[in-house]
Symmetry: C2
Subunit: 336 residues, 2 copies
DNA sequence: TCTGCTAATGTAAACGTTTACATCCGTCGG
DNA sequence: CCGACGGATGTAAACGTTTACATTAGCAGA
């Protein structure tokens, strides 16, 4: 790789001039500009990112710390972040499997000087990331679906409680009285909130939550599969199952089918997230729609704003709404 | 953020000593080491990535250039790359939507000084990335599922032709004679190779490929959905459909169901990739299994090797095998 | 006490840029 | 013909590290 010095030498100008050509400074004669450009192409020169970052103290890179990368949910979040970052000329540095506090802190430290800000998704309840440290200027951070802690940090969340509540309320409205839930991973804030929404809906309808109808999964298809078996064995059997995410709901569909239960006639099933796959399973899955990539995009936008207005920026909390999407798995007749 | 200078000043030592503490050099007295560590923690110091990259001329970061980020396939690839990178202490910089040549080249340039090597996935046939440039040392690159060009560059691919051939051969073995295919995006090398495997299998069995049974999709569920309608309208109707990926196969299942066709009795369906979701659709989808995250992991390993042995490294081509996974969508009785 | 050795620490250059400031050169008004 | 001005270019410092080399301190052996 050639450096700016090589280009300057071959072109017979100073490195300052080459630099100016690349930064679109007006202060350079057209003929010089073209000459430098030509030489640069000949030498296959491109500016060295690290050197640039160092002197400018900006990396034009966003960091994303995720608990995992498995499944359509994360892939959609990343897609949203990446699109927005790219639109603003930023790169994206991702890093996964930081479920727990120490690993998270280490990851954050290791990113100093590599990113201008961080999107942190850390739904574990006992793993709040940001410490407030000394007077030093801190790295802008946006928390995604993570326990709040109220401190001066941006947070973006999904309307988990309300989304779950309205889906379960809908089921009740259709006459269901015994509604089971397949909960998400323990200590996970999304899981907790969705469970709470489920209970709220029951109470609102004068029904008492029954522990026997609450089974815990871990957000994977597989755990949904086995949880559905458990619920199907209860006596009396629930007439509807609400799963805390679509992957588990899809696992449940598969399990219930293998038990010979007709869906939704004998047992209705609903999920949460409305991943793209949801409309293609059989029967098409009713779900609480979340615009996942928009969630990522929104986080990136807020982060970019925080980076640009580091001084004047006042952290906010923002909650993305959900909508009910009703398909064949709850509605009797198949709705495409 | 504090710098190494701050730490040195407060601790009353030189910056060299602080640096040595952080790089585990043996040349520093235990008492000094501890003292420096304490001060560093007090000042919340962490080394500046860009500065380090600059002087050491290594970033400990892998770059991944992908055509897109949509769907489980890419998400799995990224997961494999990230896991391997992380295991070796590397970060991962991702960048998507570089379907076409100019965008790809620009992206590669923009990564100089930010990554130590690049994994490039660029299945577009007219978009071969690497030019060979002057004597200058080049960035190590591993091509993933991309047109070969044989030049001195590492390539990892899937056994597309063979995988498709063996699935279609299996269908023929079960008595199918009219087999339709839902092909992938135009100019996409995976799509082309899978189509070729399909045709090979037919010819091997003495059947002539029939253009009326070859429909083109774009790898999305949606395109599979409409392509399946087309195929179902052919007279005589095919008795089996092979889709070039699982997303399209799942879309096809949904379409065929809505036409009231029983699967697999009236029409069998098979996919390619064996994404996690495949076993949970109804009926469970037969597919050509590819260990997608292993694909990513393998690419990362090769890249790391190339980085470490930049001088002696001889580029290779490697093809990952596939296996047939037969489930209910082709097998008559539901196999879990 | 002096020499010489080792271990611990310090000094300063280098990595590849950007940019404030200095310099140069041509032009124009007086 | 001179001075001033402005546009184009050059010079050098700075960003935060690592590390070769220099220096220092301490100590053993003569």
């Amino acid at each position: 790789m050639s450096t700016i010095k090589d280009v300057a030498r071959v072109a017979g100008v100073s490195i300052a001039t080459v630099s100016r050509v690349y930064n679109g400074s007006l202060q350079v004669r057209e003929s010089t500009r073209q000459h430098v450009r030509e030489i640069a192409i000949q030498l296959d020169y491109s500016p060295h990112g690290a050197a640039r970052s160092l002197i400018m103290s900006e990396t034009r890179t966003l960091g994303a710390l995720l608990p995992d990368l498995y499944g359509e949910f994360f892939s959609e979040v990343i897609r949203g972040i990446d699109q927005t970052a790219q639109k603003h000329g930023f790169h994206l540095l991702v890093s996964s499997s930081h479920a727990h506090r120490p690993s998270l802190e280490a990851a954050i430290r290791s990113m100093r000087g590599r990113v201008d800000g961080l999107i942190v998704m850390s739904p574990e309840r006992y793993a709040q990331p940001p410490r407030r440290a000394g007077a030093a200027r801190r790295l802008p951070i946006v928390l995604l679906n993570s326990p709040a802690e109220g401190e001066g940090v941006d947070v973006i969340t999904i309307a988990n409680v309300e989304g779950a509540r309205s889906m379960v309320a809908h089921l009740i409205g259709r006459g269901h009285r015994r509604i089971g839930i397949i909960g998400g991973a323990a200590h996970n804030i999304d899981a907790e909130e969705r469970l709470q929404g489920y209970r709220n809906a029951l109470r609102d309808a004068g029904l008492e939550p029954d522990a026997r109808y609450e089974v815990t999964g871990d957000f994977s298809e597989k755990s949904g599969y086995s949880a559905a078996f458990e619920l199907a064995d209860r006596d009396p059997r629930p007439t509807a199952i609400f799963a805390a995410n679509d992957a588990m709901a899809i696992g449940a569909l598969s399990a219930l089918r293998s038990r010979g239960l007709r869906i939704p006639e004998e047992i209705a099933v609903a999920g949460f997230d409305d991943i793209p796959m949801a409309r293609y399973v059989d029967p098409p899955l009713s779900s609480v729609h979340v615009n996942i990539s928009a969630l990522g995009a929104r986080a990136a936008e807020r982060l970019l704003f925080a980076i640009r207005h580091a001084t004047t920026h006042a952290p906010q909390r923002e909650t993305l709404p959900t909508t009910l999407v009703l398909r064949g798995s709850t509605e009797g007749t198949t709705v495409q």
